[in-house]
C-alpha cells in the first residue's frame, strides 16, 4: 500500500495529489486482481479430482441459469438489429445485406459484450455477494482452518466454468440473435430468406468467429476475477462493514466488471481488426 502524501503541500496541489493517490490505488488494485486471477488459474490444475463436481455445479449456476436470459435478450437484440438495419439499408437500396449486417454486428461486437454484461448482472453479482457473505460469516476462515484452499474451492471452479460457459453462451446469443434478425427481416419485412442466409454465409469468415470466442474468453476471465475478488476481500473494504460491505462489494463488482469489459472490448477490437 502506498503512503499518503503529507499535508504540507500548497493547496493547489491537492487535486493533483488526489488524482495521483487514486491512480496508484487503482493500479495497486489491478495488480492485486491480476495476482488473484493467476492464483485462481494455477489452482485449476490442482490434481484433485474433486474439482469436477464443483466445476459442474458452477457450469450449471453460471451457464444453465443464464440460458433463458441470454436467449431472450439475444432474440430481441437480433429483432431490433433487423429492424434498424432494414430501415438504414433500405435508404441505400441494399436491404439484401441485412443478414450480413445482423450477423457481423452480433459476432464481432454485440454477442460477446452483451453476454458478458448479462452474466455479470445475473451470475457475477451473485458470485460477489455469495463469496462476500462467506467471508463475513467466517466460512472462508473455516475452509482455511480445514486446510481447504478457498481459492481452489471457491474461485478456481468459477474461473474454469466461465472459460467453458462464456463462449457457449456467446454462441447461443449469436444464433438466437441471427434468428431474431430473421424474424423481423424475413418474416415481418419480407426479405428473401435465401438472400438473408446466403449473405451471412458469404460475409462471415473464420477470423470473425475466432475473434468472437477470444473476446468471450477474456470477458469471462474479467467478470469472474473481478466478482470473486470483490467478494473475497469484502471484509477489507473501507466503505462499510458486514452486510453493507457485501452490498458495496457487489455493486462495485458489477460496475468495475462493466467498465473493464468495455475497455477490454475496445483493446481487443483494435487488435483483432
Amino acid at each position: 500500500m502506498h503512503e499518503r502524501v503529507s499535508g504540507s503541500n500548497p493547496p493547489f496541489f491537492s487535486p493533483v495529489i488526489a488524482v495521483g493517490e487514486k491512480s496508484i490505488a487503482c493500479l495497486s488494485e489491478t495488480g492485486a486482481m491480476a495476482i488473484f486471477m493467476l492464483h485462481g488459474l494455477r489452482c485449476m490444475f490442482s490434481p484433485s479430482s474433486k474439482q469436477w463436481s464443483k466445476l459442474i455445479r458452477q457450469i450449471y449456476v453460471i451457464g444453465a441459469g443464464s440460458f433463458f436470459l441470454i436467449a431472450l435478450i439475444s432474440l430481441f437484440s437480433g429483432m431490433v438489429l433487423g429492424l434498424q438495419g432494414y430501415y438504414t439499408l433500405s435508404k441505400f437500396g441494399s436491404t439484401g445485406f441485412l443478414g450480413s449486417a445482423v450477423a457481423l454486428t452480433l459476432i464481432r461486437e454485440l454477442a460477446p459484450v452483451l453476454t458478458a454484461i448479462m452474466v455479470t448482472g445475473r451470475a457475477g453479482s451473485a458470485m460477489a455477494a455469495e463469496i462476500g457473505v462467506m467471508r463475513i460469516t467466517d466460512q472462508i476462515d473455516a475452509l482455511e482452518v480445514m486446510d481447504i484452499s478457498p481459492m481452489s474451492y471457491l474461485v478456481s471452479p468459477r474461473i474454469m466454468a466461465s472459460l467453458i460457459v462464456f463462449p457457449l453462451l456467446t454462441a447461443i446469443f449469436t444464433v438466437v440473435g441471427i434468428l431474431g434478425g430473421y424474424v423481423t427481416g424475413v418474416m415481418l419485412l419480407g426479405i428473401n430468406q435465401g438472400v438473408y442466409f446466403s449473405r451471412i454465409e458469404s460475409s462471415v469468415v473464420l477470423s470473425d468467429i475466432v475473434g468472437c470466442f477470444s473476446k468471450s474468453l477474456v470477458f469471462g476471465l474479467i467478470v469472474v476475477t473481478v466478482c470473486c475478488h470483490k467478494g473475497y476481500f469484502a471484509h477489507m473494504r473501507a466503505d462499510g462493514m458486514g452486510a453493507e460491505a457485501v452490498g458495496n462489494a457487489t455493486t462495485s463488482a458489477v460496475v468495475l466488471s462493466c467498465i473493464l469489459l468495455l475497455t477490454a472490448d475496445y483493446v481487443l477490437t483494435s487488435v483483432l481488426l
Binding site: 474433486k50 455469495e130 460469516t137 467466517d138 473455516a142 482455511e144 482452518v145 480445514m146 486446510d147 481447504i148
Partner: protein, 279 residues
Amino acid sequence: MRYSWTIELQDLRLGYGDTVILENITATLPAGCISVILGASGGGKSTLLRHIIGLARPFSGKILLGGKDLFSLPGKEFRLLRRRMGVLFQDGALLGALTVGENVGLPLTEHTDLPPSLVREVVLHKLALVGLADFADHYPSELSGGMRKRAGLARALVTDPPILLCDEPTSGLDPVSAAQMDDLLLDMKCRFPGMTIVSVSHDMASVRNIADHVLVLHKKNIVYAGGLSGLEESADPYLRRFLDRKAPRYSFGDDPRLTLSEETQKIMHQALDSRLERG
C-alpha cells in the same frame, strides 16, 4: 486419541495493522483439559484464538502446538499441523450451499479418498455425538443458532483432532442451549481423553461449568492464568468485578446533554403521536 498436545504461548505480541491488541502473552494451555480464555468484549480473546489457529501471524513471539512452532514451519508442515485442529466458529460457519452432513464430512471428502458410505458413517456418528444425527440432510438455514453451533462442533471433531478450539460457543444461546453446549464440551473431554480444548468466552456461568484452566485477558495482558478455584478466590478488583458481574460506576460529571428539556421531549412525542395517528 492419537495425540496429547499442549499449546504454549511464548512472549506473544499481536494485533492487526499497527494496532497492538495483546502483548507479553506467555501461557501454557494444558492437554486433556478445557482451558477458557476469558476477558471483556474487545479484549483480544478472539484475536488470540485466530493467532493460535494460524489465521493471523503475531508481531513477535511463538505459538507452540505439541512442541512445534506454528509460524516457523514450512508451508506443507504448517498446513498439516493446522489440519490437526478442530475449530468451532461463533455461528458455526457452516457452508450454506452444503447440507449439514456434507459440511461435517467436508474435511474427509476433500482430504481423503474414503468411500462415500464410510464418510457418511463417520458423519452420522459425529452428528449423533452432538444430537443432530437426524439433521444430516438439512441445510444450515433450516437449523436454529444452537443447532448450527452443534453442527459446527461435529465438523470440528470429524477428524478426531488433538486440539479443539471454540470461539464463544455459548454466545447468543438461551440458557438451556448454552448449558447443553457446555455439557457437550464436557462430554467431548471424556470421550476424547488427551484432547486439548480451548474455549473463548465471557459467559461466567459457562466458565464455571466447564473450565479446568482459565486465562483472563485485560488491558493487553494476561491478568490471571490458573485453575478456576484460584480465580474464584482472587481479590483482584477487575477479576472480582468480572466474577460478580458488577460494572464500575460511570461518572458523567455535569454534562448538560444528560438532561433533555421538557419542551424538546414534548415536541418529539407530539410528532411521534401525530405520525402514529396518521398511520
